[in-house]
Symmetry: C2
Subunit: 351 residues, 2 copies
């Protein structure tokens, strides 16, 4: 391949094994409540209005890009948007997160899901992606994303956030055929949704399995892995790298890697050094700063960032948090973290 | 040692490396809301009244023992009881758990803690232990317990339950001296509290570090481990085995073992088989049934119990849940789990 055809975005270069001049960096939920320009928009529009109006979603996506020297924009959306397309309405209750009025309780509820052409009912996401690509500097990668089948299924069954995921786990164990059907429907629609995001201009896609860490290996392998694997298998032809992210996943990171994803995203509970030992030094890891450290002083941020960077030792790494940025995060701390990553002397080894 | 002096309790025998005729079994929170006889008492008395009235605490402690063929009773108490002794009042808000009106925010707040003779202000716990021992079958071990310094400190700093433990982590990182002082005070009082429980008749003690899994290895090693280790070191002269329990601890189980405890308690996120590989086959493990499976059908319980037992393969094991029994658990399911453990054919290998 001629160098003229090599991608310019650091995030994509590292996924393709190409040299980079600095560690790629972005932050999960980098477009969000910690930015006053976002909060101002939220005074006028609901979360769903922002997501469903391409011009607004594009504006929000670009807000952190205008402020910070980031290597990626991630399209502003919510992992539950596909629920409405599936015929499962939800809303965001103030301070409580998503609420589903009719959670999935029976095999009949699963049968009723409108999967046919569900991805066609999400055109506002693709339109937002097209708008962002029009104004995004070509050095910055645009990331599309979706919730992973387990995490989305857990909201569908619990009806909202959950602590113990009791209904989800019991559904899984006691109605394995209906669970399998639900997960198959979700993985099918999720794959098509991500493919459409790529067609619209997403250059990387991330699958968020945010709550899968509530499971042990047996449950992950039996009830989740095949469905996430189907998505990554289907994405192979899409021609873009994919990121497989979860929290609390330390006991089955090998299975997550086997399920797929060019990049494995990990939370702060693991040491990157240890994960590379287990998964191999060529595994591209994303993470894993504890989002809580970003609420601290400049020195706290700086020390925490350093502890992440010190573990890298020339291995392929995308700097990020271990989970989404917290709404209380001072934007100056994002600046501090980025500056530290940019000035880290070790990067030479990665080139 | 003559066999006459050998302990008769399976739980203690396994801790001392002696043969057992059946896997010892008990359940964290086995005295609690899933039992109607407990709920009846709670209609008349508050949680704190039950804890602070030795006759009532003893009665509640014995409730599950009267129903089930268990190998241990655990004294009915709460990990936050020492807070009042330290001069930090709290109450249980309906459905919200503990609420502290004056959380720890500054180094001065730490200085003000009344550690001198704090354990003397918890005599109701020792009295309850004495009462239970008077009527407990000598084949059944009586477990005393305390919250571990990190978990108790997190309540003191957050003011109650927490999702991100943000205040706790920032206190730890930004006020390391005050943190160290707080943890030293807590470990000192906790050690004395456990020693007094042993003097009163507790035959085993468990340290609950229920929320420490929110930390990564660096934080655990730097800010927590020395303080938990001080407690286990101090307990060496107490002459009873100790259990070191936490959830979400898979990334630093080796450090927890190093900190101390004859038994390591683990949650359902890890495979026992994998933990024995990492910590060595002679490590005594306690756990690790997912409490959620206990809400399911008889078949769900039975399959989940079997998956735990199948991993044991003759290694030293105390059957338990991976965390406390959930209030919605049908008592029949406890019966089912116990029967299955009692009839498990592999136990012969452990003798």
């Amino acid at each position: 391949m001629s160098t003229l055809h090599q991608p310019r975005q650091r995030l994509i270069r590292i996924c393709e094994g190409l040299p980079v001049d600095s560690t790629p960096i972005w932050f999960m939920r980098q477009a969000g409540r910690y930015l006053e320009e976002y909060r101002r928009l939220r005074q006028r529009y609901s979360m769903l209005e922002l997501c469903q109006t391409p011009e607004l979603a594009a504006e929000v996506t670009l807000q952190p890009i205008k402020r910070f020297d980031l290597d990626a924009a991630i399209i502003f959306a919510d992992i539950l948007l596909p629920l409405q397309a599936l015929g499962v309405p939800f809303y965001f209750a103030k301070g409580e997160g998503p609420v589903l009025e009719k959670p999935i309780q029976t095999p009949q509820d699963v049968e009723r899901l409108h999967t046919t052409d569900a991805e066609e009912r999400l055109t506002f996401v693709y339109d937002a992606i097209r708008l962002v690509r029009q104004s995004l500097d070509e050095k910055i990668a645009l990331i599309g994303f979706a919730g992973a089948p387990f995490t989305v299924a857990s909201y569908m069954i619990e009806g909202g956030h959950s602590r113990h995921f009791a209904k989800t786990k019991l559904f899984m164990h006691e109605q394995p055929e209906a669970w399998n059907s639900l997960m198959t429907k979700l993985s099918t629609v999720t794959l098509r949704y991500l493919q459409r995001q790529v067609e619209a201009g997403a250059q990387v896609v991330q699958l968020f399995d945010s709550w899968v860490g509530t499971l042990g290996r047996y449950d992950y392998r039996t009830f989740v892995m095949p469905h996430s694997a189907a998505i990554f298998a289907g994405l192979r032809d899409a021609g873009v790298p994919s990121i497989h992210f979860g929290t609390g996943t330390s006991t089955f990171l090998d299975l997550m890697k086997e399920a797929g994803g060019a990049v494995i995203g990990v939370d702060w509970r693991v040491d990157l050094d240890e994960v590379w030992k287990r998964l191999g030094d060529t595994t591209i890891l994303q993470g894993n700063l504890d989002p809580v450290t970003m609420l601290g002083s400049r020195q706290t941020v700086s020390q925490a960032v350093r502890r992440v960077l010190e573990q890298v030792k020339g291995r392929p790494h995308i700097f990020n948090l271990g989970h989404g940025i917290l709404p209380e995060t001072p934007p100056e701390n994002v600046e501090t973290a980025i500056q530290q990553v940019r000035s880290w002397p070790e990067i030479g080894k990665q080139i």
